[in-house]
Subunit: 204 residues, 2 copies
Amino acid sequence: MDRKTVGIFIFDDVEVLDFAGPYEVFSRTRTVPGADSRRSDESAPFRVFTVARSRETVTAIGGLRVIPDFAWADAPPIDLLVIPGGFGTRPLLSDRATLDWLPQAASRASLVTSVCTGALLLAKTGLLRNRRATTHWAALDLLASIDSTVQVDRDARVVHDRVFTSAGVSAGIDMAFAVVEALCGKEIADETAHYIDYPRISRT
Amino acid sequence: MDRKTVGIFIFDDVEVLDFAGPYEVFSRTRTVPGADSRRSDESAPFRVFTVARSRETVTAIGGLRVIPDFAWADAPPIDLLVIPGGFGTRPLLSDRATLDWLPQAASRASLVTSVCTGALLLAKTGLLRNRRATTHWAALDLLASIDSTVQVDRDARVVHDRVFTSAGVSAGIDMAFAVVEALCGKEIADETAHYIDYPRISRT
């Protein structure tokens, strides 16, 4: 199977569920239903990895320590780019290296997604220009202030306007399922949701 | 504030959302509402850490690499013990060291919880004897076969019968909120759910 790569950006003070939710969904998607198909990668349509500025340990919010699979410089090509949020996005909004890497990675990806305040980084680098998008409820005004051309959707849980953005934290799970549905079909998305015992949530 | 410690057991082939869901909920709970209170631990009622057999890197399902905060031998006292699931629970069902550690840690904890197939480990060590409990839908029969005195609830998302057990993977988020509600009250649980944009799911 020709797997799409999913590169999940992680950084200090990333929100745990912001990256772990999509990680779970993409890494457990199978084109063959049932629990047994999850015992191998045989029917996995995605290959998921974490990517960070360097391979040094990343400390997420709450203190969870994660070792990135790849540094920006040595990561395989990323088909689906996932930008999670968390308070750690704020310093990155003025971090030249991140603001250089992000649009480059995005331009090479076939799909760009964000969870929660990851949308702030997309906006900062022009990736949401003239698009509908959303973010965490506490950051909606900040998103609008970063790029006034963004049509901020204050109610939706997931917004798809070429880029997929999602509301706060747990909405990243639904964003991931929306992407799985767009790429693999509703049946596979729903079966994977059933596998992780998740009743998909939509809010528009 | 006198914080309760939350010790989350991690092991190779632990399911990512099984441990990351409760990690998120407990580590982001605050007794003061709003986004700003999440910028510090000042009003945090819980101190969350991961604990493993040793401090060596744990590789979760999908390949996510996590550095445990503590080894069993050097962990602080654990008030709330969280046992997640995943295929990695199966070899642990015959692992003497784990089967020795778990009931000891449980007897010292004020509350024992499991997510998904973490319940199999609780059952194996007698912690669910004569109690109602649940697990991932694909492991309900296995749970019953490990300890025939367990009253397996095949429908509930979260079961509280002294021990808190939950259904598959994502149900660990709801288990954690049920614990927050039991210890801190509904208002704080609901406000934290709002913070992570999660509509709490109940199923009985």
